[in-house]
């Protein structure tokens, strides 16, 4: 058995990325990243949070004036940090430090999740008899890679230095995925509740989290296990019946039986955590309209998209043009687009819930109402977790070049349009469409590659079974 290789000096790389972020925070000339539309959206901007905090301190509703649209908990947590100023240090230093710490914690969680995923996958490959494949799958420390990709991704760095609260949103999503991989129901519930509370879209991750808790981390298709067990039963009946029961026990322990108890615990913890969070929010906003106001201003804002300022998404341009009569129809179409993809993907990829979560995150960051680079940071980091299965991905260079090109051209087009006036909205929207296309290409290619990998594994297993039988 080959030893699991670790990335050398993993922690050195982590410290290096932290240093890079601190350098950017202390950069002498103002980078002004927090005013870029790609980085800060009406939902994630820290300046809006500071405004909301000031409004709350002036005994007004923090949602007055349609500036702040986030969670009151973030307001309590980050609000006081936005006002404390330390002499001689850059503004918002404390908030930047919070985001850097959030990024580091996300990276460690991704690493740990990747490790458990890898271990589970290689052991499940061993169970179905593909020992060689299982060894090769362990050569690549995908957890470490994913963590380092997450930390060194320019999108993540820009989102962190640009004072976007997406760092915290990504942290809670990763926390819930980690909890689900480790089959800790309360941790997964906590992460899921907070992720849904902070931004609405991670609520669709409940399906992969339930699948993770029920069936365990990613594994080859379940029918292969059943075939293996049949084979083992067949073999052991020829060997002798005293080994039979032990063999069956071993096999059934890895046979994917849905763990209902864990899922029920998960739901109980969801109820507990969500009631805790809602009680806190209700108390915080009791004078300003309570929970109804909260839902109207956060979820209502996300769903009805009243703010059509440009961003890297595809919705603002469309809704600036649509007639009022059809506005609610198109809102339903766009949000339904995300919902309609949930079921088919869940049916097809239910044996790989972590990958399913990755696909959901890509789709939601593609079609969400106010996307930013922080959302791409999350799924690009999670992409690294599947580096073994996705090693045969096609067009990887094209996609990479596409991402780089779009991220360079998009600020240029924005400048041309807004600041110089020589371009118009179509220039900027073209880069947004190109970005969406590249994301779509990425997710389609990843799913394709994963399914090809599954087919390869199935083929290998069936040939092995045929050899064993014959």
């Amino acid at each position: 058995m080959t030893k699991k290789k670790k990335v050398q000096w993993f922690w050195m790389w982590v410290i290096g990325s932290v240093t890079l972020r601190l350098i950017l925070v202390y950069f002498p000339r103002n980078l002004n990243l927090s005013s870029r539309p790609e980085v800060s959206t009406p939902l994630t901007s820290l300046r809006r949070l500071a405004e909301g905090y000031w409004l709350k301190r002036s005994s007004m509703s923090p949602y007055a004036g349609s500036m702040y649209h986030g969670s009151p908990l973030l307001l309590t947590f980050l609000g006081p940090l936005t006002v404390t100023r330390i002499e001689g240090q850059p503004d918002q230093l404390l908030c930047s430090l919070v985001f850097v710490i959030a990024d580091v914690i996300s990276a460690t969680l991704i690493r740990a999740a990747g490790r458990s995923l890898q271990a589970a996958y290689s052991s499940s490959l061993k169970v179905i008899g593909l020992h060689q494949l299982s060894e090769t799958s362990e050569v690549l420390p995908s957890g470490d890679f994913a963590a380092l990709v997450y930390l060194w991704n320019p999108f993540t760095i820009i989102a962190c230095v640009g004072l976007s609260t997406s760092a915290i949103e990504n942290l809670v999503v990763v926390l819930s995925l980690y909890g689900a991989c480790k089959r800790l129901a309360s941790l997964a519930a906590f992460g899921w509740v907070l992720a849904t509370h902070l931004s609405l879209y991670p609520s669709i991750l409940i399906i992969p989290v339930i699948l993770l808790l029920g069936y365990g981390p990613d594994a080859p298709p379940r029918k292969l296990f059943q075939q293996r067990i049949k084979l083992e039963v067949g073999n052991s009946s020829s060997i002798g019946s005293n080994n039979l029961k032990e063999e069956l026990k071993d096999q059934s322990s890895v046979l994917k039986v849905f763990a209902w108890r864990l899922v029920v615990h998960f739901f109980i913890w969801i109820l507990l955590w969500s009631s805790y969070v809602l009680v806190l929010c209700g108390i915080y906003l009791q004078k300003h309209g309570g929970l109804q106001e909260l839902y109207r201003r956060t979820y209502g804002f996300i769903l009805t998209i009243p703010d059509l300022s440009p961003n890297i998404g595809v919705l603002w341009y469309f809704f600036a043009e649509v007639f009022d009569f059809f506005r609610s129809f198109f809102l339903m179409v766009f949000h339904g687009n995300i919902l309609l993809m949930i079921m088919p993907l869940a049916l097809r990829l239910n044996h790989r819930p972590c990958f399913l979560a990755f696909v959901y995150i890509v789709i939601s960051s593609l079609l969400k109402s106010y996307p930013s680079v922080g959302d791409s940071a999350l799924y690009l980091g999670l992409l690294g977790l599947f580096s073994y299965e996705l090693k045969d991905i096609r067009f990887s260079f094209l996609l990479f070049a596409g991402y780089v090109g779009v991220s360079l051209l998009s600020p240029v087009m924005h400048n041309l349009w807004i600041w110089r006036g020589t371009g118009n909205a179509n220039f900027y929207y073209a880069t947004a469409i190109a970005y969406a296309l590249f994301q779509v290409a990425l997710v389609i290619e990843c799913v394709n590659c994963m399914l090809n990998h599954d087919r390869m594994v199935t083929k290998l297993t069936t040939t092995k079974l045929k050899d064993a039988k014959s």
Partner: protein
């Protein structure tokens, strides 16, 4: 058991509130449909002062309008509520011996063109089209607010027109006419759009009373300086300036108002009775068949000034009812700093205030009703309970501690499930 009781209680309260809202709305809508303006409260005063003639020899029309502008400002209407339309510039006319000064009397006691004259429509902008647009409120989108008549259904509007007129018409700029049926149509539109509660039309031209002969809208009072077939004459010639400086009708109107200050409550009937046909050399005719109230009861400051009833309150504004006020209320807060004791003392009276407001007759703003509806949903009882337990400053600390407490809870629960 308690949940059932709470639910029943909430349900009954909701039904009560719905009934109250329903009744209130019925009352208001009935008042609106009956087209009597008694249900709406008089809230503001506007003045539209129009001088329609140009050329130097029509100096007196300019002086008429400016004198009335001065009077109306002196008695309380502010510039933002006055639309002043002057068809020509006399003060800076090349033939004016006293540059930047306009007089309405040969004793030159008053300079009407003082420091703070705000002319909204000047020169060639004074046209029939613009006048009708001002009245009906149908402007191009680029027209600034200072040029719009932004009145509502609680407004009293004074409309004063002077210039050259005749049988059923008023001449604008020596090139076009405003006819009496145009004016009647515009007033009818204004009434339908709820742009005034009461309107006083004062016309100082030849055969002035024919101009409002076609009016049909209720709530309109009109007075003209002369009847059909009569001319209106200028008062006197200022030999220094070289032209007549004021018309008789306006002169005697001003003489009436110069005796008044803001706090006198002289009535409209005394104004209308003060006109002496011998002195005017014409018959000042007023039309009151469209106006329901008795002229003895209406103070002149209802139209010519702006004296509003103030209601004194001791408590500070709270921010709870700002769901619909939103932007407006934030402006109020910026200048104030209030202590938490104010907020505490007001919070408990919130509910009673809101109920009282709903049952008060004058207040027909739906925003209050909506606020009650929002307040009375299922969260309200809970928030009342919480509100009595936790005071204002400690809410933030409580939530902060709750947030911090989440982490040890999480660690503990994870350890449990390990």
């Amino acid at each position: 058991m308690e949940f059932c009781f709470l639910r029943i209680l909430k349900l009954t309260m909701k039904v009560l509130v719905m009934l109250l809202l329903f009744l209130g709305n019925i009352r208001n809508s009935a008042a609106y449909f009956s087209s009597s303006s008694e249900a709406t409260m008089h809230t503001n005063n506007w003045a539209v002062l129009v001088c329609t003639s140009r050329f130097w020899f029509n100096y007196r029309h300019m002086a008429n309008t400016l004198s009335l502008y001065r009077t109306v400002k002196r008695l309380g209407i502010s510039d933002e509520r006055i639309i002043l339309m002057l068809a020509d510039d006399m003060a800076c006319n090349a033939r004016n011996k006293y540059p930047a000064q306009v007089f309405n009397n040969e004793n030159h006691r008053l300079n009407l063109y003082g420091d703070n004259v705000e002319v909204d429509y000047r020169g060639y902008e004074v046209t029939v089209e613009n006048f009708l647009r001002v009245l009906t409120g149908r402007h191009e989108t680029a027209v600034p607010r200072s040029k719009r008549l932004l009145s509502d259904e609680g407004s009293h509007i004074l409309l004063y027109m002077t210039g050259h007129g005749g049988d059923e018409f008023l001449k604008f700029q020596d090139s076009e006419e405003l006819q009496s049926h145009d004016l009647a149509d515009a007033v009818k539109q204004m009434k339908e759009k709820g742009r005034f509660k009461e309107l006083l039309i004062m016309v100082d031209t030849c055969q002035a009373s024919t101009l409002f002969s076609q009016l049909q809208s209720p709530g309109v009072l009109a007075i003209g300086s002369s009847m059909k077939g009569e001319n209106s004459y200028s008062h006197h010639l200022d030999s220094d300036v070289g032209v007549s400086v004021v018309d008789r009708f306006t002169f005697y109107t001003l003489a009436f108002f110069e005796r008044l200050n803001m706090y006198d409550n002289a009535s409209l009937s005394s104004l209308f009775n003060s006109y002496n046909p011998n002195l005017l050399m014409s018959t000042a005719y007023y039309r009151r068949d469209l106006y329901q109230r008795h002229l003895e009861e209406v103070p002149v400051t209802n139209f010519f000034g702006s004296v509003m009833e103030t209601i004194h309150t001791d408590s500070a504004y709270t921010s709870f009812t700002n769901k619909n006020f939103g932007g407006a209320k934030t402006k109020i807060f910026l200048g104030q700093s209030f202590s938490s004791s104010d907020i505490n003392s007001v919070r408990n009276s919130d509910d009673e205030d809101q109920f009282n407001n709903l049952t008060a007759e004058e207040d027909q703003h739906n925003e209050v009703g909506q606020c009650i509806f929002c307040a009375m949903d299922s969260g309200h009882l809970w928030s009342v309970i919480i509100g009595n337990v936790i005071t204002h400053e400690s809410v933030d600390f409580f939530v902060c501690y709750g947030l911090v407490l989440m982490l040890p809870l999480l660690v503990f629960s994870t350890w449990l499930s390990l």
